[in-house]
Amino acid sequence: MSLTRLVAIARKELVQILRDARSLIIVVLMPAVLVLLFGYGVNLDLKGLPVYVFDRDGSQQSQDLLRHFQASEYFHIEHVVGSYPELTRALDDGHAKMGIVIPWDFSQRLRDGRPVEVQALVDGSDDNTANVLIGYSQAVVQGYSAEVQIDWLRERGLSIQPAAMSVETRTWYNEDLESSAFIIPGVLALVMSVIGAFLTSLTIAREWERGTMEQLISTPVTAMEIMLGKLAPYFVLGMFDTVISALIAIYWFDVPFRGSWVTLMVASAMFLIVVLSMGFLISVLAKSQFAASQIALLITFLPAFLLSGFLFSIEQMPIALQWITRILPARYYVSVLKKIFLKGTPAHLLYADLVPLAVFTFVLALLATRSFHKRLE
């Protein structure tokens, strides 16, 4: 191993990155774009869902119930329609996520103390939204129903029994249940997959495509020096991008950061070595820029996006898929990220994630060093 040769390769690689507008844009803007995109664009909080109402009663009481719906941040009453077909049409064309039908004898039945049913038509094409709507509309109606009962008892001079039981909830780690706090830490894994695997796979395949690799391997430089020299600038840039992404998350999106920077940097370095090694392996096998970039996206970016627990909780995946996530390095890194950011879990309690990540780091780095030979074909 010669430091002179390693540095020569690394310096050349850095100059090439800085001179190539496309890779420079990816390196500099990608972290910011991804964090902003997911910070603003992906919002799993369901608030202000459009609701249409067909009020057949039109009484003081029915207006009261609707005010309760309107008061909830989850519903927004867009229209009060005059007929049933108008309501179904709004559901059909997607203007309404839910339709509420209040029966003509709503206030009459309430006055008589008889049970009354309010119909809620829910758009079930998105099951998650539908579940939320059903749950919250039941809560709203039950709340109103309790009020009505209390009034009914009071009017008759009966004593009011306070509710016997209630749940006092307190949410930890993500106190306001902001989905951005849940999502943004995981974006770091995406940024690294792009910088690490995608860019790296391009740069080495490019050397084969342009024939410069032939000149390179005719010199005394060793396979190890080529690999380390080529990956070193990307390692530095990847770590730089990690810090940038973390800072945007913390200071722009107010994502809590409760853990230690040291743990974050160590885990990030491990994951970066994993994706760099993957990018290197891919480029050695593919030898064309196009093939390499496609494979890199397929085996690093997509799993990091879909199966790492970044957006979709692993516990809710089918069992088979849950097992598959165990062979994804991104899963462990995303888990570490969320714990460091939101929980502040100290390093020694992260071993369940850090140990598998370290194993991946070691194995993939080893595979990468073995994969490259200084031969043409």
């Binding site: 040769r5 020569a8 001179r19 190539d20 024939g211 005719s218 010199t219 031969r375 043409l376 074909e377």
Partner: protein, 289 residues
Amino acid sequence: MRKGEVFGFLGPNGAGKSTTIRMLCGLLKPTSGHASVAGFDVSREPELVRQNIGYMSQKFSLYNDLKVIENIRLFAGLYSVPSNQLKERIEWALSMANLKGQENLITGTLPGGWKQRLALGCAVLHRPPVIFLDEPTSGVDPITRRQFWDSIQQMAETGVTVFVTTHYMEEAEYCNRLALIFRGKIVALGTPSELKRDSMKGKILLVECDPLGAAVEALQSAPDVMDAAVFGNALHLVVKDAAVALPQLKSYLTDHNISVTRMEEIRPSLEDVFVSLTTSREAAEERKP
């Protein structure tokens, strides 16, 4: 090959010139056989071979997106040029490539001939005892080609062994020794004059006559003529014995209503040798089942 000689490797496209060079540089693994370069075995000690050679591949393969000086620095680093020699070697490479004062140009913007000389400069920064040049002058204008060969000759004079492939016959004349390669086999080996003297099966007659086309046709079936080919505005004939054939052919052509203005024996050019050797090989191989 001997030390300090310019050894030319001549052959048609696909004959195996580049493959040979790549095997000698340790870039391809030989399927069988041995080779040693600068005293090291190419399959067992490829790294020692690489420290002692400079290689210029057929396709320009420096970095087009780097500046001239950045390419030179890169290869100086890869060849571990000692820092106390670095400045002098960079200066040398720049002056050899005629790129002094142009250090900061992006390599991709240079004309082809300059690029080739820069590539040569980069390949010999570490003063290797042996250099391999794979068609170094393809696509380069004649003047630059001439300068390029001057640089090669200068290096050879300092004791560097040069192994060069080409398919330009006039370039072959610059070589101390030549090997003609055809379909992966060496068909002739020697100095250019040895090849011209010994490798031809017959003698060459130069014929200036009119009309040329009819003459070629007539001569194909003439007795004693082994081959007839057009060279510029004259014909080259291959015959067994010039003294016998000369008067015979003169009258043969006159009989065919072709006026002969000049007919004499000439020394064969390398191109004659090359054409004659490859066509006879081709014929021999076709006769085999």
